[in-house]
Subunit: 229 residues, 2 copies
């Protein structure tokens, strides 16, 4: 009976996988800031230090989380030309990053901190390079191409003007006329975009469209370089 009862009121045994999943769920829900060893442990009904029997420390846990979400990116399409293969891959990466908004920041921070990339990231980069090589890019150009896509390799595209609409009016925001006087070009652009979208859907700009626009511009540029041998 004790065995029975235990399975009822005692949590399933901890494991690295269960911890990572809980961590990802927590980060998905509350952002990277809401992620703490203590909160993860609490969510698993366990004392914080228990986690350290399965992950070395928080850094290693973050690495594990990254691996988990990067593995969600679709495998490369087979039999497609390099351009659409890359396109699909990057868009898949972007979808992943939209599902896990914390991931872009964490991956970047990790790359910047000069810790070695995790296996899943390496695999992703490797297969991306493979697509380009198979598409006829000479090695040197692949190298440049990877740099060109830069952070975009992982589907980044920090939206600089992150949709200001729908935000409660900032009490100490500049009045519109002062805004227009001080930043005439931003204002012009903002108004044009607003007017543009108004006739289509809601306010703000279509991030997805902008993303694909930028992506295609880059891909076209690379294609030109490639065909010039």
């Amino acid at each position: 009976m004790s065995g029975q009862a235990d399975t009822l009121h005692r949590r399933a045994p901890l494991s690295r996988q269960r911890i990572l999943s809980a961590a990802v769920a927590l980060a998905d829900a509350g952002g990277a800031d809401a992620l703490s060893m203590r909160k993860i442990a609490q969510g698993l009904g366990v004392v914080p230090m228990a986690l350290y029997k399965h992950v070395a420390n928080k850094d290693e846990l973050l690495d594990g989380m990254i691996d988990l979400v990067v593995a969600e990116i679709d495998p490369p399409a087979v039999g497609a030309d390099w351009k659409s293969a890359v396109r699909l891959r990057v868009l898949s990466a972007r979808r992943m990053l939209l599902r896990h908004p914390w991931a872009a920041g964490v991956i970047e921070a990790r790359l910047k901190a000069r810790t070695a990339p995790t296996p899943a990231v390496l695999a992703y980069l490797d297969s991306m390079i493979g697509i380009l090589r198979a598409g006829g890019f000479p090695v040197e150009l692949v190298h440049h191409a990877m740099h060109v896509m830069g952070s975009r390799v992982l589907g980044f595209s920090q939206e600089l003007f992150e949709d200001a609409s729908g935000r409660e009016p900032d009490p100490d925001a500049l009045p519109p006329e002062e805004m227009a006087a001080r930043y005439p070009h931003i204002t012009e652009l903002a108004m044009a975009v607003a007017h543009d979208r108004e006739s289509v859907v809601g306010p703000g700009c279509d991030d997805q469209f902008e993303f694909e626009f930028a992506l295609d511009l880059t891909l076209d540029g690379l294609e030109r370089l490639r065909s010039a041998s």
Copy 2:
């Protein structure tokens, strides 16, 4: 005499500017992690809470720091065509970011946290837009262009393969043959690049070159769009 003595053993009076400068210096020296209210205060010979008489909280302090470093970016060149004007500006921004390695991350985090951009950032964006407008870009295209340059507007270009050479050999790194087997394309590329550079300078790739390569590819793409009206 007390006045004299005071000026000798007492620190100059605190001020928002002095705090911001100290904070920037500290971040420059030790990275964003080394930046804490307590450390800043200590560096100024003052108790931590004293800072709060001049800045509302750490977030506002970060905003102030951003403003300070963004203001270091060169003003736009006058009388240049749009392309070289943008090019110079972005390269100047990049130089600033190399001087203050913490800045890119902080700015990005701030943009992502949907806090309003600081005045200096707004001014930078505004003048960047102004360059494009003056160069003959229609508003809509400027909008797209700003998205295209994306994080690169501020000179970003996260180097994905942050020069692995000169790092002490990671104890649990894969042996080269396994590396080659598992990530054939990365390996190929790494070897090609290494061989390439070997004949020129040190190992690793020339980040500055790669940055300008990517930048020019983007600018050329934009120019094509512009001239197509």
